[in-house]
Amino acid sequence: MAEPMKIRATLQGDVADVRILMLHPMETGQRKTGSGIVPLHFIQSVVVTHNGKTVLDAQWSQAVSRNPFLGLRVKSAKAGDKIAVTWTDNKGDKRTDEATVAAP
């Protein structure tokens, strides 16, 4: 179903710089094709956890770009820490991927 995310987490001091690239069409419900309007299809919620603890809980609308990018920083991180990302879209599709924090 949903394509895997690309997650990169690199340590900068004691802060992990996390970059996430999700693959999703993010249809606005306004785009027209020959047969009508492409229905709304977008990621509604993204949750980022650091060693199982939620650090960011994002709610999105259809205004986020196609194949969304999300960048964030996680405080007091160490190399080897686990960063997990879960997104849920408006059709109930879900995807979870995990990455470990890499030393710089």
């Binding site: 306004q30 229905p39 960011l56 960048g71």
Partner: protein, 155 residues
């Protein structure tokens, strides 16, 4: 060939699809996201309603919010926006594009372990202000930056 009839059918078909999508969206958000996804704010078509949906009524202009976005975005479908808040105890960061059909683009709830920085990419229909609303200690702070859009990202 009656062109009027063609146009009518096309429009009706489009409206039907939209209605189905809306119903599906309604049902789903009612079931699963009622607690987290701020439906009233996200589905507001006017800036004022979206802000009301967020609960941001008395906003204070703040210089502690940094918005990094291009002055001129060539492609409205991909406008990189990064927000840093230096306000202590930042709880959430919301990004709104004032002239989009639905102004509220994203809300980020930040837990204690997270840094008050987020970066993402938005669609923008036309040139307008990007407004950021930061909630910290129950108060709302705001800042805005104008982004000129040469090609809109709604089509």
């Amino acid at each position: 060939m009656n062109t009027l009839r063609r146009t009518f059918l096309k429009t009706a078909g489009g409206a039907g699809a939209l209605a189905i999508a809306a119903t599906a969206g309604l049902l789903k958000s009612g079931q699963a996201w009622a607690a987290t996804w701020n439906k009233s704010a996200f589905e507001s078509k006017a800036m004022a309603d979206a802000l009301k949906g967020l609960g941001a009524t008395n906003m204070i202009d703040s210089k502690d919010i940094t918005i990094t976005a291009p002055d001129i975005a060539e492609n409205g479908a991909v406008v990189p926006v990064a927000v840093t808040s230096k306000i202590p105890n930042t709880q959430s960061i919301s990004i709104l594009a004032e002239k989009n059909p639905f102004p509220l683009a994203a809300t980020f709830d930040i837990s204690s372990g997270g840094d008050s920085y987020v970066s993402t990419r938005l669609k923008m229909g036309q040139t307008s202000d990007i407004r950021v609303v930061v909630k910290a200690d129950g108060k709302f702070y705001t800042a805005a930056k104008e982004v000129k859009v040469t090609v809109g990202g709604c089509g």
